[in-house]
Subunit: 425 residues, 4 copies
């Protein structure tokens, strides 16, 4: 299934209200010095990757409630991303996960991507589950395993993933390790760290010259006493040990309670080592909820640092942006639409911050004013700007409303049936 | 020092921009069915108490940096609240703390209150510090002390506080206990609970018939292993053991990491036992930061429950609303202005929620829609509504801007000097 | 497979070292006033239930690594508990989970239980997963569902579980609800609570007269914004709304970070409302790790309260003790042996506390002494007491060593094969 | 006041019971291959510094309850450490804090130190409070201040502290910064980090050649939104930016909830960057409770890493060990005695771990065995070893009992009076 520009335009209907809203806001912002046109362009240019595993219903260890019309193969997943991108105009990339999404027919997959205006962003390996036919099990670890043969198998899998990515046009490999322990004493921390460093270096060395390595961190789960790459400091250390094209990847849900994530973002950008970003939201742990559904102000503060860094720290690569959420009780596509909207909203508000006034207030230690400046931007209703950016590219005025009025899910069920199951968690 | 309506009007200046903003928003909201006039009236009616100890600079255990022009006595504190109320029109009450604010001249204090349109809300006792001249120390507890004489002294102090409150027109007593332990084994949990229950009952029994008892809870600090009234469940149990006019008081900062506070609010309202509310914000513990400065969306969700409860649970009393924040690095009055604005903003957005559509979406298990409805309200820029509510009562268009343009702090310093110190923490 | 007393005795070998250790310790403890014989008897009498689902390898949402020789049906599960009990003499009960363990042949199951000296403790229902053939899905809740028909199905399932339990000799039903929300606004907190209360009352009313209802609480997972029964206060309120034979059940892993669990235990016992206890350990969330593997001192402090309550609060029922741990990377039976040992150790140490001296030190506010008294008990190496208790009932000197030397797992694999999979999570 | 060897010996009384206990344990340990003599020697050699500010009663922001007989000047503080060391034989160092402890008479202070066998460990600067007579305030930061003059004042203060330390024989400077923010937007994270790095480098460059710089980290308090040096990763990065003799200092209380501290210790040791260690215990935040009073098993696991690192990572310096606890409700000296005992206990148990068997079990992925090995050591009652180590140096069999029987506090009160107040927090 594919949505045409005409379908979307017809779903948009009359744009008069939008025009009025946009003009009101644009006038207001212009009066206080904002270059609205350039802001809308920044929004329109901003693209986020959709991970292939987010298109089916996720689950918890207590069970999984499936969703109807899930994509049953990679081609259908690509179609789903195409639908998202047609509506939102901000989902212009996909992030594959191997072996869940190993292409059977590269040409066909690339053709669907092209047709939908989608590129292949960072590609993900998987050494946290055993694959049928694998010689060794990752039960006791992969890149950090005490057993050299198992480490070698895991390194080799990563290299294979890179070869797949090369054929599709990816330029970076994301490594997330479940390696760790659930009980004190189970491993030597020092040895596990040394082995992880060595394995990462092996993967890094074999990378194509124009590729980057993105190293993700996480404090716990699925291991519940320790994780080898537990925090940004460890990832940063490993990236430094690999080389210039190795970077840290931040996933918003991978932090201990109360962590100041925006400060981590700022630190990594200051050091030229922020390589990728996984969006989601959470209240307790790695809850993988819809972006912006729990702590939208924190997201805005993080975007403030990202915007600052993108302007002032050119030594960082183009960030690999991705949504990493999971949806047990929402239609996966609707959930992604809400996430994409929340990301754009936070970005728009961060762009509205009066950075010159803020710097000045900071120098004057005018703490009250600093807060006012941030809240001035945050309290602004930026939805007309998001609409304008989408419309400028042929997207939907309201992607969710269009998705429903165009009966996308109903059509997908008709095409695919009720009981398809997407690969993934 | 006192601000006149004229001063404020002149600080407001030209209201054309406000008119345009308000009309734009009111039209938009009216089209989607909101009764804007009634909403503005609700905002204008909403009043929050300012605690007398929030008018000087707070501190941490590591030190205190004083602020200039702090109020040196109760009369000056009342003046400060008067200034706040004149500007914001939402600070129409004060909450005193005994013995920090024991009036010397009741008539004078009441006169200042009247002149400023301020009433006396819940009054607070203090059994967490020793007072000069006290016979017994609270080092090892007050209402929960193992020593009967010390418990009696603490009960008596509370009764005295009530007598002071009666003379001022207060109608409720707030008890916050520091009682607890810093080391395992230090106390018997069961005995401490039983003694606390008995002491609370003694205080309750002696209350005037039209008074309420508000029982605050807190998980830790200043004790670091256990606190006698550790959570809402314990407070609720104690309130039930006292009687109908005993209620739980929720302070936003008094929860363990990741607590769902809005659910606690809903539960207490459902049971008719929510009696008071202390506003502040925090990232780590009882940080006592400006309301809305860290988690404004959580504040909105809490207000959603409060609004629901105020409509559907008439068995709850009129809530004793209070700000309980502390300000080491901001001008205390500016900080309170920011807090009051954030409270009004959250209240306004909660009032905007389309409750009928929400109920329907909940019944349909349309989780995506439920989120959309909340976010529709939250994303709206409600500042013109707040301005209109303030203007309708003679307040400032922008209280902070007026405070600065009228040079309030400079005047206070001139009147009071640089080095006054307010009583409090 | 069944272990005979002879096999165990032969695995125990020479007991001289044990005799020497026990005598040394018994003499030492007797000198300071401990009645060692009675203490050993208390330990020998203490029995903990093993949940039927703990006998296979658990998993996380990221995958599951199976273990060889897992029990393939209920009879084999009962055999496993029999092995555990023969070795440890403290696993004299089993806790079934319906529908995972619905008996096919009641007589056969009871016969295995009798043969192994095992009774049937609290029985567990499951309304957090959909069962094949069920009319309605629990995707959007069970006892708290907005839909009356779904609530009725869930109530009925619980009643059916009771009928199964009756045939086996159980006397209590444990309810754990996954009901809750993952997104703000998804449900009305007040309505969900009211519906849960009503459903619990329906189940309670239909209980046999000699049965108890145990209501479990949990702050989050598998729902990540709110859980209907989120904390002890909510469970306590629901138990009170049901009646005298409804109690709260505490699972050690179901708390927010830093919760003082021992205080909750003390509170519930003081009010006669502690009905059951699930043991496990955790560092981050509901990690379900081996008991005592992370925070053994906290476990000791909890046992201190349990011992106190069992002595002073006869209004509480005989507690339903159970282990609720999960084991991805350990042999499940070895893991349970370690958990049982840790429970017995904490119990023994709690029994060693000099309660008279402790009360006195508490009255004297001698905080240093209070700590010394607890630590004196905790620092004692009580393993000879545990050995003596086991030996007195024909158990193993060292259950783990015996398990390995008797090659239990190897035998189970021979009997059952490599690739059996136990029902459960 | 000073305790003589004779006084202590007489307080020790008859040692027969100790002999019996020690022999029983030593025999048992020797049989399983432990070199008991060498272990006792390691314990006897292990020395911990007492911070000068721990000798008076601490406080919280809610108040302070003073203790009688507090040391009124530096000489009296040195006497207190002397008493501690005489009793425990493990407090052979003191850590001064400037300006709280600036010596008036260096010769006198050194003489007291010599007489008591005490050396001067790391010296601490203070830029988190304003000092009388200082030109600039640290209200808005010190080493990270936006204002160059204030940064310079703070750097200069640190250099002065070094000069004081040089005269006393210290060889390292500990920097703890309160610098940070309480509100989003208050500072630029990137600039604050850059300025901190620059200031640290200036201090480092001016250090004497045989001195080390120890950089402490802390996530929050007294700032409640962000702290400049928020975690080990930031401290590690700063230490690397300074040079070879700059290290990270770990304070046990300075971590977010659920942090795996032992893994941080292992990581820093693996990289040769662990320079100092502050002991305390906590349940919620930086609670500064007696060492080992809340999580003794975690302390043991940390010591396991420290022991491993001291053996395998010679590139780390001799660690600056210090207690950093505070005592509102205990006699400060008794509290320190309990802390010292808990440290020695954890160290002794860590030394008992069978490292060879552990390595082997780790290689075999025998997770159950790994846990058994750790617990075997932890469950051992090592108190006779601690007694033997103390006795071997002329210390007390039981320092706390001796302290009380020798009526030390009563004597101090007689000497110093009831109402002295020690400098410090």
């Amino acid at each position: 299934m594919q949505l045409t520009k005409d379908q979307i335009a017809s779903a948009n209907g009359n744009l008069n209200d939008h025009e009025a809203d946009f003009n009101y806001l644009a006038n207001k912002l212009s009066r206080s010095g904002t270059d609205v046109e350039s802001l809308v362009k920044s929004l329109a240019d901003f693209q986020v990757a959709v991970p292939s595993w987010a298109l089916g219903a996720g689950g918890t260890r207590f069970g999984r409630f499936s969703f109807h019309g899930e994509p049953g193969n990679l081609e259908q997943k690509m179609d789903d991303v195409g639908i998202l991108h047609a509506l939102t105009q901000t989902a212009g990339a996909v992030s594959l996960h191997i072996p869940w999404d190993t292409p059977q027919d590269y040409a066909a997959v690339k053709q669907i991507a092209n047709r939908n205006g989608i590129v292949f962003d960072a590609i993900n390996s998987n050494t946290f589950q055993d694959q049928p036919g694998s010689k060794y099990s990752y039960k006791h670890g992969s890149l950090a395993n005490t057993d050299e043969a198992i480490r070698a198998q895991a390194v080799q899998h990563n290299q294979e993933v890179v070869r797949i990515g090369e054929k599709l046009g990816s330029k970076s490999l994301t490594i997330w390790l479940a390696d760790g322990t659930s009980f004190p004493g189970q491993r030597s921390f020092q040895k596990a760290l040394a082995q992880t460093e060595k394995s990462c270096q092996e993967i890094y060395t074999a990378l194509p010259e124009d590729w980057s390595l993105l190293i993700e961190y996480k404090p716990y789960e699925p291991n519940f006493y320790s994780t080898v790459i537990m925090d940004w400091g460890t990832s940063f250390m490993l990236a430094n040990a690999c080389g210039d094209r190795a970077y840290t990847l931040v996933d918003l849900g991978h932090h201990l309670p109360n962590t100041n994530i925006e400060q981590i973002v700022a630190t990594l950008m200051a050091k030229g080592k922020l390589g990728g970003f996984h969006f989601n939201d959470s209240k307790y742990g790695d809850d993988d909820l819809t972006v912006g559904s729990i702590k939208p102000y924190a997201l805005f503060l993080i975007f403030n640092e990202l915007v600052y860094g993108m302007r002032h720290n050119p030594e960082n690569p183009n960030l690999a942006w991705m949504i990493d959420a999971s949806h047990n009780i929402k239609d996966p596509l609707e959930d992604l639409i809400q996430s994409l909207e929340a990301i754009q909203e936070a970005y728009a508000k961060a762009l509205l911050i009066d950075q010159i006034a803020l710097s000045e207030a900071q120098l004057n230690h005018d703490v009250v004013k600093c807060q006012e400046i941030l809240q001035e931007a945050y309290r602004t209703d930026v939805r007309p700007l998001l609409q304008r950016a989408r419309l400028s590219r042929g997207g939907a005025l309201s992607p969710l409303a269009a998705y429903r009025s165009l009966k996308v899910r109903e059509n997908l069920i008709r095409e695919r049936g009720m009981h398809t199951v997407a690969t993934g968690l």
